[in-house]
Amino acid sequence: MLLEVPWDWMVARDALPVLGRGVVTTLLATCGGMMIALMLGLPLVILRRSRLRVLSRTISLIVEFVRGTPLLIQLFFVYFLLSGQPWASTLTIGIVMLGVHYACYVSEVYRSGIEGVSCGQWDAAKALNMSRARTWISVILPQAIPPIVPALGNYLVAMLKDTPLLFAITLRELLMESNNYASRAGSTIEVYTLLGLVFLVLSLAATALIRWTEKRLLVRGA
């Protein structure tokens, strides 16, 4: 009785503005989350390399814990603890949690970049009597970051694909808008299929953008 696929073009067409509204929030959450991940990843890796063992061990443990547990449960934990706080909108919670989760991955990428800078650079900076902060800012980081851009880009795509989880904390991103629409229209086939296509296009476009950036960096480096 269900063998005839009930695709309705009118329902599909009416879904487009709904998806358009969701895309804005989804992209906002992705960009905001990535910004936090990039900023927070750096202090994480620097603290992890600290000479103070207690500090570096604690940071390692936190990073491993965040990476070893589901983002969904982390979202539930924070969302239910904070909901009711006027400053904690679901968008804020969503962006911060995506950012924190991915900062732990990004910090590993930074670490590989930093370890890729040869030891001689540290020695040379010391010989030049540079302070530790100065060494980081003007010697190590400028060499460590360009080679890791592709890896960072992969996490941007991964984060984009994790944004649908935010529907679980009532953020009205693509999935939530689609669910609401499916519930109103009483039909899932059109809106979920379009939703899949939207994500496919977004992630393929993001991947292409990363490849392009990668190439440009290679050209500049040569």
Binding site: R67, G68, T69, L72, L175, Y192, T193, G196, L200
Partner: protein, 221 residues
């Protein structure tokens, strides 16, 4: 201690999570191997299909894939149960990453190995089977271990298609007791323990599997 009254519910969910995890791990392993071998197949059509498979399933968020399989697939006359949809969705998604690990490991084996095996008059299949794959398997293990942990984390998403696993029980308990920190704290600890166990097991397999390679390498040197 009021803390312990949550355990019966949460451990009930934990078993389902473990079941989803183990079965979808198997699905990922099978599908990754097939798609990965497809990526390096001599047949161009097969290679193209494998590439399409990888790009489509890697580009889709798992959650969207799960919703599609659960709510849309029945319209095509295919109605899988919630558990089967969960395993299939996780399997399709993570095998697209797994296939690239398989491909990467196979293509990283030096050409000389293929040439030497050809010189020994081995057939294409035997070359793959006796020379290339045994070495590639060892190289696959570390990235594969990370993939397993990513898979574990996303098993929580099957709660949205009515599979009553750990996250589902946590959410239900939250609704009835509001003891957020305890409920989700325990859940997080459960997941972390499984992740740590996974990392440990993969590490052991790695050591066991690389024993031969190391000996072989030493012999060559």
């Amino acid at each position: 201690m009021p803390f312990f009254d949550l355990f019966p519910h949460l451990t009930q969910g934990l078993w389902v999570t473990l079941k989803v995890y183990v079965v979808s791990s198997l699905a990922v392993l099978v599908l990754s191997t097939l798609a990965g071998l497809g990526r390096v197949a001599p047949n161009a059509l097969l290679r193209g299909l494998a590439a399409l498979y990888v790009h489509v399933f890697r580009g889709l968020p798992v959650l969207i894939l799960l919703f599609w399989l659960y709510y849309v697939l029945p319209y095509f006359g295919i109605e899988l149960g919630a558990f089967a949809v969960g395993v299939l969705g996780l399997g399709l998604n993570y095998s697209s990453y797994g296939a690239e690990i398989v491909r990467g490991a196979i293509t990283s084996i030096p050409r000389g190995q293929w040439e030497a095996a050809t010189a020994l008059n081995m057939s294409r299949w035997s070359r793959m089977r006796y020379v290339i794959l045994p070495q590639a398997l060892v190289r696959m293990l570390p990235p594969y271990g990370n993939l397993q942990i990513e898979l574990l984390k996303n098993t929580a998403l099957v709660m949205f298609i009515s599979v009553e696993e750990l996250a589902h029980h946590g959410r239900v308990l939250q609704n009835s007791t509001q003891r957020t920190a305890e409920i989700f704290g325990i859940s997080l600890a459960f997941y972390f323990a499984i992740a740590a166990l996974t990392a440990f097991v993969v590490r052991r397999i790695e050591v066991a599997a690389s024993r031969g390679i190391r000996a072989g390498g030493a012999h060559v040197a």
